[in-house]
Point group: C2
Chain length 342, copies 2
Amino acid sequence: MDLVTIYWENKAVHLIDQTLLPSEEKVISITDYTDLAEAIKKLKVRGAPAIGVAGAFGMALASTYSKKTDKTDFLKEMAEAGDIIAATRPTAVNLFWALKKISDVIMENKDREIVEIKRLILEKALQIWKDDIDICNSIGKNASVLFRSGDRILTHCNAGSLATVKYGTALAGVYYAFNEGKSIEVYADETRPLLQGARLTSWELNKSGIPVTVLCDNMSASLISRGKINKIIVGADRIAANGDTANKIGTFGLAIIARYHNIPFYVAAPLSTFDFELTDGSKIPIEQRSSEELSYFNKKRIIPEGVRIYNPAFDVTPSNLISAWISEKGIAEKAEKFKEWL
Amino acid sequence: MDLVTIYWENKAVHLIDQTLLPSEEKVISITDYTDLAEAIKKLKVRGAPAIGVAGAFGMALASTYSKKTDKTDFLKEMAEAGDIIAATRPTAVNLFWALKKISDVIMENKDREIVEIKRLILEKALQIWKDDIDICNSIGKNASVLFRSGDRILTHCNAGSLATVKYGTALAGVYYAFNEGKSIEVYADETRPLLQGARLTSWELNKSGIPVTVLCDNMSASLISRGKINKIIVGADRIAANGDTANKIGTFGLAIIARYHNIPFYVAAPLSTFDFELTDGSKIPIEQRSSEELSYFNKKRIIPEGVRIYNPAFDVTPSNLISAWISEKGIAEKAEKFKEWL
C-alpha cells in the first residue's frame, strides 16, 4: 500500500480529506494550525497514530508561521497552539504523546534562537512522521506471523493506511501477509455512525487488491457462527497498563462475540498508544460526539425530533478478552509483557 | 398506543408506509394483491405478525377482486396468489401460517359457491387481524410482569405496534408496564441497514410518551457495562421447537453480550411465530437482501465499487442464550414448556 495519508511539503501539511472518501479522493493543504485542529476535530484526518502525526505537524505549522520575535511571546504562542490542538479529541493518547515530544524539544532548547527552535520543532515533527512509517512496517511484520493462507479476518473501523502515515496498524499485518503471498481476505464492519469501515477500510483494501467484504456492525456473530470469519484484529486509541484497550465503539462487543465463538481477538498499535500511567481502562476518557452523527444521514433526518441519542466514539475492551497485542516491539499475549517493551 | 398499522376498509387494505417514517406518516391504500406482495417485499409493511396479517389481507384482495366465474379457475387463481404472496419474504413463519389459515378455509369450503368462499376468506382474514390485536395485548400483559420501575430496557429492530396490528410483541410489555404506571425507559438499537430502531421504534415510543434513546448497534456492550441497560427484549421471526430464535440480524450478538454481562434476554412473540416442525434453528431459511441496502444511503454511495457486501436480514440466536420466551399463553423459561402452549 503506497498510499501516504499525511505529509509535510512546502511549509504546508497535506492530507487526504477522509470525510470525502470513497466518492472523492482529495488532498487538502493546510498552513494554519487552527485549521489543522479543525481537520482533526472534523475527522478529515483520523486514526490514533495519524492524529499524533497531525498534532506534531500542527505544532510545526504554528511555529513556522509564528511572527513573534520575542522569545517569551513565541513560547507562549507555542503553548497556546499545543492547548488548542490537544483540545480536539480526548481519547487517542498518541496525540498527547506527540505534543509532548514537541514540547520537550521546545523546553530543552528554549534558550536557543527562535529560528533554531523552529527548525528543531519541524525536525522533530518530520521524525515523528518518518518513525510512524517504520513503526507501522514493524507492526505489520510482527502481526503477519498470526495470519495464514485461507484466513478470513474481521476488522472494525479503520486501522489501516488511512489511520497512520502508511501501512496502518491492524491492517499492516494484513498487507504484510498479503505481500508475502498469503491468500487472505478481510471482512470490514461498516462502523456506525461514521462508516469508517464501509468508506475507508474497504476503499484502501480494494485499492490494494485484497478481497474485502463489508458487513453491518450487527452481523459479526452470524458470520463467525457460519465459519466465515476465523480471526479478528483491530487497532487501538489508548491501551492502559493492564491491557484494557480503548478503541472505536463496537470493539468491546466484538471481543465478547469472539470469545463466545473461541476465535482470536488481536489488538495492533504502536507503543505511543500505550498509556502506562493509567492502571486500567476505567480511567480512559471517552469522547462523546454530536447526536447529529446519528440523527442525520446525508442531510436526511432519520431519527424523530424529541428522541434522545447516545453517541460515545469509543469503548474499552477488558484486557482478558484480548488474545494478544502487537506493537513494533513484538507480540504480547499478556499485559505483563508490556514492561519488556519499554 | 392506539396506532393501527394495517386494516381493511371499503374493499381495500390500508397501511402505514413504514419506509417513509419518521419524516412522513402516510397511510396507503392497496386493492391489488400483487401491490400488497410488493409492499411486503419493500418493507412498507414489516414485522413478522404484521406480515402475517398482510398476507391474509392479500388473499382477501385476490379473492375480492377475482373475476373468475368457474370454480376451478377461481381456486387456481387463489393458489397462484398464495404463491406470489408467500414468495415475498422467507424467514418470518407468520406469513406462511396466515396463508395456511386462508388456504385451509378455501379447502374446507371448496364445494361452496365462489361468492360464499370469498366471504369466508375475508371473514378469516379479518379474524386473523382481530386475533393479532388480542394476542399482542395478552403478550403485553404477560411480559409486563418482567418489568419494574427503573428498568432501562434495550430492544433491537422494531417489534412494536408497527410490527403488528397494534401494541407489538417485544414492546407490548413495555406499553403495558408503562400504562400500569411503571417508570421505565427504552434504549433502541438503530438497527442497520434499514434503521427500523432509529426510524420506527423511537418514533412510536416517542409518540406514546415513553422515554427513548437511540444508539448504534455497536454500542450495547458499552452501555450495559456502564449500567445504563438492565434488560433486553426483542421480537422474533421464527422460533424452532428447541427455542432457537430467528430475529433481525444483530439479535444473536446482543444475546451473547447480554449473557456476558449477566442481564436477562427475552423474546416476545405470538404462537404463530413458533415453527414446531423445525427441531432447531439451523433449518430456518435466512433471507439475504440486496447489497444496495448497505452500499447506498439516501442515494449517496457509501461503499466503493468492487467491494463485496454481506447482507443477511436475520440471524439465529441459540436457545440457551434466551432467558425466557413470552407468548399470549404465558412465559416459558425453557423450550420444553412450549408443549403446554399447543
